[in-house]
């Protein structure tokens, strides 16, 4: 007897729903609702998926039994495009992978290329990179805070968090000329020194930011609805997270203090004194709280970096890599030749391959670059934390309510541009 011939076991509720004869009778009392499995498609156009993520959710009633993410809806072929461009032209496209962590992306790529070239970035450039990356972390967390709060129903959070985000983007515009995707970092340093008065504005911002984080906390931490949606929801233990390769605030929320800024410092992070906030339960509330604290720690790092900002060049003094100063072009033939070679062909990188991981707002951004000795990379690959963290979704939301899936997705903070690249 095949499965189709087997007698269909239907609940009384379901029988009544399907049969016209029974429909007028009073409903079965105390009967459990229909427990058939339902496959629900969520996305790619869904306001709570933070982009164009598509999820195939298997539901039993309201409970998520299985979940399958389908990605690729913003696949842009960035890694392939990078192979067609000289190293210094790759930076703009790499920045657009994870579009909320542009400085981090650029740092990973530039760091990898610098390792291949075996050059030492000037100290001032390293500090400027740190300041920009930490500001970038705050921007990313603020966007996360606003949109995630929106997902769990706290509408007003968006206005406050975007107010501070605009302040930081103004700082970016002041120092780099662009709000997003600045291409400020380049191989060998940063593109130019910061303008006069910029550090004062940064310090001004650093002064208000911790208080603002407290204000966000006051708005959300005492909100009973938000706490019920986050506390003890979709927790995942540290062991499972490590096995799934999850990094960043998600892992730290489960109690593992893994932070590349501490574990393998790059760009002079060892000079700064800061703490790595960790959670205890690994639930959604801890993920939320860890990020809130991280914003404060980032402010601490920025303050120290501004205070200790050394004088000196912001670019390596190697004419094979750095563009010559503009004024030399009219007087020096050498400079003109270097400029021409750099702009038309770009610099050549010795053969080899390197993986350069940095700690971004979402975890480990690692750039793998393989060079074949030419001026274009043979392969660029980004280990994007959103992509790796996404595979923990199913483990997190299994056997929890579908409403918690939205909250968990919000607290995971995936950026689809980074996932699909």
């Amino acid at each position: 007897m095949s499965q189709l011939d087997a007698p269909r076991t239907q609940s009384a509720y379901r029988q009544q729903e399907e049969s016209i004869e029974l429909s007028h009778l009073p409903g079965p009392e105390g009967d459990a609702p229909d427990q058939e499995l339902l496959t629900l498609n969520m996305g790619p156009h869904h306001p709570a998926t933070h982009g164009v993520l598509r999820l195939l959710v298997t539901l039993e009633g309201e409970v998520v039994r299985d979940l399958k993410p389908i990605i690729g809806y913003v696949h842009t072929g960035i890694e392939k495009t990078a192979e067609d461009k000289p190293y210094w032209k790759v930076i703009p496209v790499v920045e657009r992978m994870d579009y909320l962590a542009y400085f981090t992306n650029a740092m990973a790529f530039c760091g990898a290329t610098e390792t291949l070239l075996d050059i030492e970035v000037p100290k001032r450039a390293q500090y400027l990179r740190v300041i920009h990356m930490e500001l970038n972390r705050i921007v990313s967390h603020l966007v996360w805070l606003g949109t995630s709060a929106l997902d769990v129903g706290a509408m007003s959070m968006l206005w406050y968090s975007f107010r501070e985000k605009e302040t930081i983007l103004d700082l970016f515009e002041y120092s780099t000329g662009q709000r997003m995707h600045t291409r400020y970092f380049q191989v060998g340093g940063v593109i130019e020194d910061i303008p006069a008065g910029w550090t004062d504005k940064v310090l001004e911002f650093c002064k208000i930011m911790p208080g603002r984080v407290d204000q966000y906390g006051a708005l959300l931490n005492k909100n009973e609805i938000l706490l019920q949606r986050l506390r003890n929801v979709c927790a995942l233990d540290e062991q499972t997270l490590v096995e799934l390769g999850v990094t960043g605030p998600l892992l730290r929320a489960a109690g593992n203090p893994w932070d590349l800024r501490k574990a393998m410092p790059y760009s002079s992070y060892e000079d700064f004194d800061f703490q790595v906030p960790i959670g205890v339960n690994g639930d959604n509330y801890d993920r939320f709280a860890v990020r809130m604290q991280e914003m404060k720690e980032s402010v601490k790092i920025i303050e120290q970096a501004v205070a200790m900002l050394p004088e000196g060049p912001t670019m390596v003094d190697d004419r094979k890599i750095a563009l010559p100063p503009r004024h030399e072009l009219a007087t020096s033939m050498e400079a003109l030749i270097h400029h021409f070679k750099l702009v038309t062909e770009g610099f050549r990188v010795p053969p080899g391959e390197v993986y350069f991981p940095v700690e971004g707002p979402r975890g480990e951004y690692g750039c793998f670059v393989r060079s074949d000795g030419s001026s274009k990379p043979a392969r660029v690959h980004m280990r994007d934390p959103s992509f790796v963290n996404l595979q923990a979704t199913a483990a997190m939301v299994k056997d929890s309510y579908i409403a918690d899936l939205i909250a968990t997705l919000a607290m995971m903070d995936p950026v689809l541009g980074g996932i699909d690249r």
């Binding site: 982009g51 913003v74 072929g77 657009r96 606003g146 968006l158 975007f162 605009e166 709000r179 997003m180």
Partner: protein, 232 residues
Amino acid sequence: MEVIRQKVGQKPTAGQMHEFRSRQLTARQLLTGDLDGAELDEHVESSILTTTLEKAGKWSAGNAFMPATFGLACCAIEMITTVAARTDIARFGFEAFRASPRQADLLILSGRVSIKMAPVVRRIYDQMLEPKWAIAMGACSSSMGVFNNYAVVPADKFMPVDVHVPGCPPRPEALLHGILKLRAMVHDDPSMGWRERHGAEGTVEVLPEEGEALRRDFAANVPGRTGHGTNA
């Protein structure tokens, strides 16, 4: 019509209150049919604005876009910023972002459209009810932008786009400017028409019979020219 401005929170003067009250009473009389003759004419002239239904519809549609909540990539962040406090899109009445395409009439393509996404975008656009408009925000959805590779499709290839906003990503102000341009288009603003396209700014439109006289006047007014045969 004279516009009277007064500070918010200040009490209107007795004269203003009286005028307001009398207008209220006249309006009530009009509705009950007690008003006739010259009084009726005067009231109708002063308080009723005539227009065509088409124009009124366009006016209301252009001032109340309901954009779809649809973010694709980087530009989506700037699109959210447009809603946020600094460039408050609600000043113009476009803040009601709708999650369902059935309730939206403006699709902002905020980011790069990949080959996999293009049919989905097209379906969302098809699901929107007429009248509907689309804005391609940023370089990627207009011209494939910095990527310009196998994966990205410009929006014009698969759906009609009304306004292209340049930038990578465009500033929130730029998007707002694009939406206001779209509003001007919806309102049938004459400046959105042929003048720019044909490089005809600063010209006037005249009827054929008027043209000869105009040309004569123009020629007569040009210093150092006699009044005939100039074809300026």
